[in-house]
């Protein structure tokens, strides 16, 4: 029989998990459905055109640009928060943005970050925790053009507030990105909804491996990329027929 203290803790744990679900859901309206992260260029070139080729692209994207970029930014942000080195957040924002060659990628990241911050502040803005203050500061810095905006940094602030660690946060963030990408692929390629769920399910092992690798990376990797992924993002800018903004 549980005491009232136990049930209080149980309530808070479940509530916290539900709150994390909400932020990671592909329907969380921050506009990620507008961005393909360069996948659309491969789609137009006829290179990504099936379950297999989409899964291949997704896996490479996760294991390269995502790992060294947004994935690592989640880890670094959490560590900076643990150490109360808050100015590092703004350094990571600059470094991450200025590592992205493609103009559209930088602009897309900013649009998503602003919507993410607006929504998080709508849900948690009344709270007086330090993470909320930083979310507010981040929002203002973007308005003042002192920061560009990255969804990964906003997400890490939220996860820190929820008390989640690096491994969990990176996995949940990866999940939120992947679930949106799968939905985008279902619409654009198109893939079947069930095939999309199978791809999502199969990529979980990659995500867990990734979170382990990210734990071992330092700032020197932040923003690293590989040629093809990046060139596709650059070329998206001049793609005539397109469904996505980047």
């Amino acid at each position: 029989m549980s005491t009232s203290a136990d049930s209080e803790k149980e309530y808070r744990d479940i509530r916290r998990i539900l709150e994390v679900f909400q932020i990671c859901d592909s329907t969380f309206p921050i506009g990620t459905f507008n961005h393909s992260y360069g996948m659309e260029t491969y789609l137009r070139d006829g290179i990504v055109d099936s379950n297999e080729t989409f899964e291949k692209w997704l896996s490479v994207y996760l294991r390269t640009q995502f790992k060294w970029g947004e994935g690592l930014a989640v880890k670094l942000t959490l560590e900076a928060l643990d150490n109360k080195e808050y100015s590092k957040l703004w350094e990571y924002d600059q470094l991450l943005t200025r590592s992205a060659a493609a103009f559209e990628t930088r602009r897309g990241a900013r649009l998503i970050a602003v919507q993410m911050l607006d929504l998080l502040l709508r849900l948690y803005g009344e709270d007086d925790r330090v993470e909320v203050k930083l979310l507010q500061e981040y929002r203002q810095r973007i308005r003042d053009e002192k920061s560009f905006g990255s969804q990964s940094i906003a997400f890490a602030l939220f996860m820190h507030m929820m008390g989640e660690g690096v491994r969990e946060s990176v996995c949940y963030y990866s999940y939120s990105i992947v679930t949106t990408m799968v939905q985008n692929a279902v619409r654009a390629i198109p893939l079947g909804q069930k095939a999309g769920q199978k791809i999502l399910h199969d990529i979980f092992d990659d995500i867990i491996t990734l979170s382990k690798q990210i734990e071992g990376l330092d700032e020197s990797y932040l923003g690293a990329s590989v040629p093809g992924i990046e060139l596709a993002q650059i070329r998206h800018e001049t793609t005539v027929f397109r469904l996505f903004m980047s």
Binding site: I47, Y61, T64, A101, A102, F103, V226, P227, L231, E237
Partner: protein, 283 residues
């Protein structure tokens, strides 16, 4: 082999200053395995051109090279290399390193156009470039890496190559170009990496005159080439980058050459740049 009291296996320092309207080299130092060519005036231009040379034809395991270039206020120079940077095999677990420290002063222009990096099978290579362009300065910078060379004729046989270029304009980071190539962990020829190509080239231009119209002109040019994948985009600041993935080193060189000529014509009012390079070598 390191020379006594020298921390580098190859050290190059080349700096330019303006005297009576002309660009002169005020420091031209090469130690260890590094050499600098005599001054050339290509195509009868006033712009001085220097070729950087690595003795022995390449970088051997565990060596560290340091190269400092400085185009002070009001100068204009072309700096290139005599040959690609061949990075020889590293079979004792050591990494070969090359660091570049490049400065461009106010109203100065530096065309820093080195050849590609060609990593041999089983080589490990780390390249770091810190490039500072002062307000009013102008930079053209090429960089590239190939599928490498290996005795078995196979591509991407190197252990890893990590090339990072941090480019600043007026003290602010414009571009952190951080490239990690790890053939043991990735299918290098595959989707997202080299996309079936063997040669990757990059051309960065930093200049106040760069605006969206400038970028669009270069994007239009890209449509004229059929045997390579080309992208042009604007960086954060008065800067742009041209990227090429192509099947041959010479093909990529020819494409970058067209962009270089276009940009130097538009920015400096100068003609076609002919560096008189042998285009027959294989990458």
């Amino acid at each position: 082999m390191k020379i006594f009291h020298d921390k580098y296996d190859g050290y190059t320092e080349l700096s330019f200053s303006e005297r009576g309207g002309e660009t002169v080299a005020d420091a031209c130092i090469a130690r260890g395995q590094a050499r600098i060519s005599a001054k050339l005036h290509l195509n009868g231009e006033d712009t001085p051109c220097y070729f950087l040379i690595t003795m022995g034809g390449g970088l051997t395991e565990g060596e560290t090279y340091e190269t400092k270039l400085n185009a002070r206020a009001g100068t204009h120079a072309v700096v290139t290399t005599q040959a690609p940077a061949y990075v020889f095999k590293c079979i004792n677990g050591e990494t070969t390193r090359s660091n570049f420290d490049v400065k461009v002063g106010q109203d100065a222009a530096l065309e820093y156009l080195p050849d590609d990096v060609i990593p041999y099978g089983r080589s490990r290579y780390v390249q770091t470039s810190d490039i500072h362009v002062a307000k009013g300065g102008s930079l053209m910078y090429t960089d590239g890496i190939t599928a490498g060379w290996s005795p078995n004729g196979k591509d991407f046989q190197y252990y890893f190559a990590h090339m990072i270029s941090r480019i600043y304009y007026a003290g602010r980071l414009v571009y952190n170009d951080n490239l990690i190539l790890d053939p043991h962990a990735y299918d290098m020829a595959g989707l997202g990496l080299f996309d079936g190509s063997r040669n990757y080239s990059s051309f960065v231009v930093v200049d106040e005159k760069i605006d969206n119209a400038f970028v669009q002109e270069l994007q239009e040019m890209g449509k004229g080439f059929e045997d390579a994948v080309i992208g042009v985009t604007r960086l954060e600041g008065p800067a742009l980058v041209v990227r090429v993935l192509g099947d041959s080193l010479n093909g990529n060189k020819a494409i970058l050459g067209r962009y270089i000529d276009f940009v130097r014509g538009k920015l400096y009012g100068l003609p076609h740049l002919d560096m008189r390079k042998d285009v027959s070598f294989k990458g």
